[in-house]
Symmetry: C2
Subunit: 386 residues, 2 copies
């Protein structure tokens, strides 16, 4: 945020920190990014994608940040962004991102009109489809706006959410898109969200193979119809190497690799090692402070349910095995401190259970390097859910 005048801001009210400040002075709870770790993760994924001959369309639903996305494109070679909501797409388009996939269905009339306006903001605009009537609605929206929407047919390859489940349906939708004014058939969306967090590498491989088989069959059937897939997209932090080796996918959609979280950290690689122990580094933390220690063996910290999402479990405390975060209420976390080593105002780095919905409750990323605050990045699309 080069245009932000930090002199006008109240630390703790407007922003949790300002550049130049010691990490120890950040107002907590705050999201901090270890910029060195983040840059290494981003670079590593970029190098992997390049060596595998894949495009990487980094998932902006995770970080909701124009600044992080630009880092992924500039340092990691990402080809563009995925996101899940039209309002997120608008933030990325207004922030200068020019290749945007809403990897989701857009069905409400007002949202279709807004999606169809995105090319007017300078962005290539792609969305997913799993319903024939929706094809007509999107076509009308694009024609009215005088723009083009590219459409991927979404295959439900195991996540159990949106998407069709048969090749017949894929072909039917692709033909409808191809025939519709204002639309362009652009390929397939096949993200297996449900298996990304399975601990076992072999289980994830087996589930991804089902997806690969479905997609291979669909691509072949489309080819028989004369329909080419510019994009065959999918893959996440727990599976990207499988899609990359498939010979049929050409775009990865990894998000969490850049920040990591406790739930992803636990999954195992091919050699049985946790993926946060070598493959990816924890770059995202919730910085929290001890605010009460009235009981000898228990510290109360200032990061509770409003500083994170606990849907995938409680946070872990980074770099410490002498204290443990065991409970959470709206504004408090209970940290067991059996030896009584913590004092009021001591700070801890928490690794959130689930990065995506945790980032979504914060307004700012505080970028730190070498114990100093280097930058502040807004969580630009925070709250953009509609």
């Amino acid at each position: 945020m080069k245009d932000l005048n930090y002199d006008d801001l109240d630390v703790g009210y407007d922003v949790p920190a300002v550049p130049g400040m010691d990490e120890a002075d950040i107002a907590t709870p705050a999201l901090i990014l270890d910029l060195d770790a983040l840059e290494r993760n981003v670079k590593k994924m970029g190098e992997f994608a390049k060596s595998a001959g894949m495009r990487h369309r980094s998932h902006g639903k995770m970080h909701k940040s124009v600044d992080v996305q630009k880092l992924q494109q500039e340092l990691g070679g990402a080809c563009g962004v995925c996101c899940q909501k039209v309002s997120e797409a608008e933030v990325f388009a207004r922030g200068g991102i020019t290749d945007i996939l809403v990897s989701n269905q857009v069905t409400q009339p007002r949202k279709i009109a807004r999606l169809a306006n995105l090319p007017n903001l300078g962005a290539r605009t792609i969305c997913c489809v799993d319903d024939l009537d929706n094809v007509s609605d999107l076509s009308k929206g694009a024609v009215e706006a005088g723009t083009q929407i590219e459409c991927l047919v979404e295959i439900d390859c195991g996540a159990g959410r949106c998407g069709v489940t048969t090749t017949e349906k894929v072909v039917e939708l692709a033909r409808a898109i191809d025939a519709a004014e204002g639309l362009k058939f652009a390929g397939l969306q096949a993200y297996q969200g449900a298996m990304q967090h399975l601990d076992s590498y072999d289980e994830r491989k087996a589930k991804t193979q089902i997806a690969i088989d479905m997609v291979t069959e669909a691509v072949a059937a489309l080819k028989d119809e004369g329909l080419t897939c510019d994009i065959v997209g999918g893959g996440g932090t727990g599976s990207y190497y499988f899609e990359s080796a498939s010979g049929v996918f050409n775009e990865l959609q990894c998000g969490s690799y850049a920040f990591m979280d406790a739930d992803y950290g636990r999954i195992l690689d091919e050699d049985g090692n946790r993926i946060d122990d070598g493959e990816w580094e924890n770059a995202l933390f919730i910085l929290t402070s001890v605010m009460s220690h009235a009981k000898a063996d228990k510290a109360i910290v200032d990061a509770g349910l409003k500083a994170q999402s606990v849907d995938s479990g409680l946070p872990t405390i980074y770099g410490r095995d002498d204290v443990e975060y065991v409970k959470c209420s709206d504004e408090h976390g209970v940290v067991m401190d059996p030896e009584g080593v913590l004092k009021i105002n001591d700070k801890l780095r928490l690794v959130p259970g689930h990065c995506d919905p945790t980032c979504n409750v914060h307004d700012w990323y505080v970028g730190v390097r070498g114990g100093k605050v280097e930058t502040l990045w807004p969580v630009s699309a925070r709250g953009k859910a509609y």
Copy 2:
């Protein structure tokens, strides 16, 4: 927001709706407030408190809204606000609320300085204390700001978070506050957060009695020291009638009663009825839309983990027993629809599992009455966690 020019706003990007719009046209997911139900809840609690001879300091940590707080004061006779963070207190003070309790510890130097400045914004300022060093720090802050901070000694009466656990410690802290320049001893904070959600009325009664006994003993011991408690505060939506009948508490701190949620709704009153079946009405909903129905028995809706907190369970679907919200991911909810009654773009009202952290992910309350949008209220202190 009388000063908001709705003509300048993009529905779906800046705001989920504008006044005058049909409820069916609200961009989803969005938080909606049934204004009739909200007003009835607020009025009812006000009448209860008045008849019980209690003050009600409504808990703003739940709604984080200056507008809701003003309704609670004007229609419900609330004497002021509780909140949990200095940054929330600043929002309420700047919004014109003049009696503010931060029902929590304030320990970091910068936060103490900001707390001590609140009286300069026109607000009576009260906070909680459970540590002797913190008394000195607060005193220094008040002296530096040239203001007065009132302090409540916090008793941990069962929540297991902040607060001291013996009368001896209560008296020690109260004497230190009384002797400290810039501070005023104002009484006791004794909120038993842990039992509010127990289903059984008798279990809640028994747990509250422990709190009442601790507080009664402490008030008597303080009286022996010549220290009077202006405020003896506590009580929540699951217990306010116990504190009100105690003869020792004089301020209630209920929050959730105004909106209700699925977790509170399940608890039972004295007669074994759910409290959302007569005692309080559901006034808060997440309005969500069906966005995919590619599987015959399953609808996918647009409210997932970023539109709510699921720490206390999944949302329920209001007024429907033919469909059930069974699963949640970042941007999707899975609704079982065995009869296939739902269609794409149909809307459902979800009752969130836990209102407080759910409100904290939204920017706006859409106030509806009779099927029309009547008003928009900002979630003024959303994200004010530090």
